[in-house]
Amino acid sequence: MYGWIWRHLPGNAWVKALLSLLLVMAVVYVLFNYVFPWAEPLLPFNDVTVDNQ
């Protein structure tokens, strides 16, 4: 998977490294802003009330 991405990135090794860094940052951004906020309420730390939820 990662090898495939590496081979398909354009430019020389430096450009590829930079582009992969950008890709990693984009993935982390999506995880922190969309995926984790959705997943976190499924954990038990939110149950602090006595009536419901």
Binding site: M1, Y2, L31, E40, F45, D47, V48, T49, V50, D51
Partner: protein, 229 residues
């Protein structure tokens, strides 16, 4: 064969990295976010209060200093600041209306069905034990006699803890009754109930403290005794 092995190992590494990132998110990032959101809420409240719009109740505009029953709180909006000296001299958190998950991310949540601040009945508030700024992390350190101070911009309300921390089950909704049966109170009064989860990282139980309204004073009279140091 090599392709399969390589793909599986890459997948494992990816999943592991995502899990580590998720732990970082839950333990660290929610706290960072919550701290900034909570201080935003407090800033907003203080700005509102500074502009004289003490309660955004809409219809009840005008000089209503003697109105004993204020209008309903706006869901998901802050309306008070809570101080608990036992949890730290700088410990202060906004109190918002409602106990929805998204509300509790921004501060403490007032059970919408319970009494309003300082009114007859049981003013009940829930807060996170862990994650989202850990507001009630030190909840078990609360002791009878401790002060819980709240302000709504016009009045300081000083509650004194009478009983707790009391461990109970999540289904025990009686603890936020107007006169909670297990609190030892026998007649109607102006009470306060705080709830959070127990154990620290679990959700099998709830921790409760009960307090009664000890004194009130207008904000012009300065900070109440319990907050002076």
């Amino acid at each position: 064969m090599r392709v399969v092995v390589r793909s599986v190992s890459e997948l494992c590494i990816t999943v592991g990295t995502v899990i580590v990132l998720f732990v970082v998110y839950v333990l660290f990032w929610t706290g960072v976010k919550a701290d900034s959101v909570m201080s935003d809420q407090i800033d907003r409240l203080q700005e509102q209060w500074a502009h004289g719009a003490v309660r955004p109740t809409g219809e009840a505009a005008g000089p209503a200093e003697s109105a004993p029953t204020p209008g309903p709180y706006e869901t998901d909006k802050p309306f008070a600041i809570m101080y608990i000296p036992r949890l730290g001299f700088t410990w202060n958190k906004p109190v918002l209306e409602g106990t929805a998950t998204k509300t509790l991310k921004k501060g403490l949540g007032h059970y919408a069905a319970t009494a309003q601040l300082g009114q007859k009945g049981n003013f009940s508030v829930a807060g996170h034990r862990r994650t989202y700024g850990d507001p009630f992390k030190d909840f078990p350190r609360l002791r009878p006699g401790d002060a819980v101070v709240l302000t709504d911009g016009t009045t300081w309300f000083t509650y004194r803890i009478d009983k707790g921390p009391y461990k109970t089950l999540p289904t025990d909704i009686e603890v936020i009754d107007a006169v909670p049966r297990k609190s030892g109170y026998t007649r109607e009064g102006r009470y306060l109930t705080l709830t959070t989860c127990d154990p620290e990282w679990g959700h099998s139980h709830r921790l409760i403290v009960w307090a009664h309204l000890d004194s009130t004073q207008p904000v012009e009279a300065g900070k109440p005794e319990a907050l002076r140091r």
